[in-house]
């Protein structure tokens, strides 16, 4: 590997080094030098000034998960269709046919998910 190739990045590395040093130094200083007067209120997690409610590790509805999965599907859909769109003219009719088959399969899946009530919140 060519060393010269990396030279322009030296300032970045220096900056990173300084940042890391400071980021470690300041908390250490404040922990070691600062006075400690613990209090129940102070030990609470900070929630924008509100009193904390319940535990952090609580269960939340699987609905969010379903939405996330659907999102990923559409996301991948876009990732796969984008390159086709870029090379649209070159690929011609063949490309169109291929992408149509892909979209058709995808739509069947979407319709199925819709029918099964995956898109409904309640």
């Amino acid at each position: 590997m060519n060393v010269d190739y990396l030279m322009p990045y030296v300032p970045v590395a220096v900056l990173l080094g300084i940042a890391l040093f400071l980021a470690l130094l300041l908390p250490i200083l404040s922990v070691s030098l600062g006075p400690k007067r613990p209090h129940f209120r102070k030990m609470q997690p900070y929630e924008s000034g509100m009193t904390a409610v319940g535990k952090a590790q609580r269960r939340y509805p699987v609905k969010f998960y379903r939405v996330a999965v659907l999102f990923i599907l559409f996301d991948i859909d876009i990732i796969l269709i984008m390159p086709w769109a870029v090379a649209l003219r070159d690929l011609g009719l063949f490309g169109l046919g291929a992408v149509m088959i892909f979209i058709a399969i995808f739509i069947i899946g979407d319709l199925w998910a819709w029918k099964k009530g995956l898109l409904e919140w309640d």
């Binding site: 090379a87 070159d90 690929l91 063949f94 399969i105 069947i108 319709l111 199925w112 029918k115």
Partner: protein
């Protein structure tokens, strides 16, 4: 750059297209006519598999070994004898699994019948892709297509906790394994500049350490799928918790699929000169797998869990043949033969086990087999025969499988591994025989319920195991013609 449409011969990948297509058809039908479909799902799937099977046979007989060449000039898919062999294996696995599932889903009160068969079809299409893939990317896609439906199928007996636990464990560890596979893929791509196996093998040596790391990662990912030690941890819990029909399907399909890809990668993507390095690793993994699988199986009291460990052990025997790959011209055909016999024997054994199982996940302990021979001598004898085949007693398919695998290992001069193989085979006799003596030598309430579909599956498996045991010539020749090109060269020269 002028784009040229690739030479696509859809006919040669038609089997996998048919299977996946029938999965889609099931999906559409599920949308349109939810309730009417319930009885229809398995029959449609069976139809699709039979159709795909016929197409595979037609291609095989036609000797159509053309390849599917996309952009870039290297075939993504190689439809050779090897691929045909695995396609048939997966199609038969699917057919038997569907036959077993029909009565089992009713017995186990599983409602999602349409989804079940749909997922099964998608999973089979993934397995078939793994058998014919000639590109690391396609192997990965095949693996995901194989696995993701299986994750869901494991948990389909919800709200049974064991089933949910099984799905979760399988999913998490499976995803972990996929991560390894992708990372290995990326490293290999980085080292060799391509994901196509023919290019990878050319540039492999130049890739140096990175290429080896990539290969190791790939092997780790696949070892998870086939349940090789030390990546076997998920197997017992998943096999025990999953609905038995899924366990049967998974213990054969997923394992054989993993091996299909593993053997193709090792034979075609790794140059001969690096053989000593990876064969040592595989041989050690094989030895560990054999020892752990067979020894831990002894202490099991749940028959599904016992068969889970047994399936780990059988993976070890296949790995023996894999370790012999660069040194013996018969290694691939030996592993193919072994997988063939393992498929029939294991599916047959699971079919009988499902008949003994009672609803609500009862009847899966060894205790429940006490005195089975008094009530059902025929089925007890059949299960005993499958157990003897799993041990590898002569005149069963299992013996032929073990025989050729040991032969390949000795041919490759892996005598120490062969000795471990036979000693653990003797150990395995103990826990398989335990099923036999619970059935024959104790009195008890062991009983089973017949169902026509299950009987059909059992009969098919039994006849095939008997046929391989008594007339192995035909099957060995079949496996030999299905061997990979590089192997055939070695066997000839």
């Amino acid at each position: 750059m002028e784009f040229q449409a690739p030479a696509i011969n859809i006919a040669i990948i038609l089997p996998v297209v048919i299977v996946a297509g029938f999965g889609l058809v099931l999906m559409i039908l599920d949308m349109l006519m939810e309730d009417e479909l319930r009885g229809l799902g398995p029959w449609i799937s069976l139809g699709g598999l039979v159709l795909a099977g016929l197409q595979t046979i037609a291609l095989w007989l036609g000797g159509s070994y053309e390849t599917f060449i996309p952009v870039g000039g290297h075939p993504m898919v190689v439809v050779d004898g090897y691929a045909h062999f695995f396609n048939m294996l997966f199609i038969i696995t699917g057919i038997l699994a569907i036959l077993m599932s029909m009565p089992y889903l009713i017995k186990a009160d599983i409602d999602e019948k349409a989804e079940y068969y749909m997922l099964l079809m998608f999973s089979i299409s993934g397995m078939m892709l793994m058998g014919m893939a000639n590109d690391l990317l396609l192997i990965f896609i095949g693996l995901e297509l194989l696995s993701i439906p299986l994750y869901v199928m494991c948990g389909i007996a919800r709200p049974r906790e064991a089933s949910e636990e099984s799905a979760m464990k399988y999913f998490l560890l499976g995803a972990f394994a996929s991560g390894f596979l992708v990372f290995g893929l990326a490293l290999l791509y980085g080292a060799t500049g391509s994901t196509a196996l023919p290019v990878v093998v050319e540039n492999f040596t130049a890739g140096g350490v990175i290429a080896y790391t990539g290969l190791a990662m790939q092997l780790v990912g696949l070892a998870f799928k086939v349940g090789a030690v030390p990546f076997h941890m998920w197997t017992p819990d998943v096999y025990e918790g999953a609905p038995t029909a899924v366990t049967a399907f998974m213990s054969v399909g997923a394992k054989v699929g993993g091996f299909a890809a593993m053997i193709r990668i090792l034979a075609e993507a790794v140059p001969q000169e690096s053989a000593p390095i990876w064969t040592t690793a595989i041989a050690i993994i094989a030895a560990a797998t054999l020892i752990l699988g067979n020894v831990v199986a002894i202490s099991q009291t749940n028959i599904k869990r016992m068969l889970a460990y047994s399936s780990i052990a059988h993976g070890g025997y296949i790995l023996m043949a894999v370790a012999a790959l660069p040194f013996s011209g018969d290694a691939v055909s030996a592993s193919l033969t072994y997988m063939l016999t393992y498929m029939f024997t294991n599916l047959g054994a699971f079919a009988v086990i499902m008949m003994v199982e009672k609803s609500g996940n009862r009847g899966v302990l060894l205790e429940d087999y006490k005195g089975l021979s008094k009530r059902n001598l025929g089925m007890a004898l059949i299960l005993a025969y499958f157990m003897f085949s799993l041990i590898g007693m002569p005149l069963t398919g299992g013996f032929i499988g073990k025989f050729v695998v040991f032969q390949a290992a000795i041919d490759a001069n892996l005598i120490w591994l062969t000795i471990i193989g036979v000693v653990t085979a003797a150990v395995s006799a103990y826990y398989y025989l335990r099923v036999v003596f619970y059935m024959f030598m104790f009195d008890g309430q062991g009983d089973l319920e017949f169902s026509p579909a299950m009987m059909t599956a059992t009969t098919v498996a039994l006849v095939a195991t008997l046929a391989i045991g008594f007339f192995p010539g035909l099957w060995l020749n079949l496996a030999r013609t299905a061997s990979l090109a590089s192997q055939l060269l070695m066997a000839g020269g």
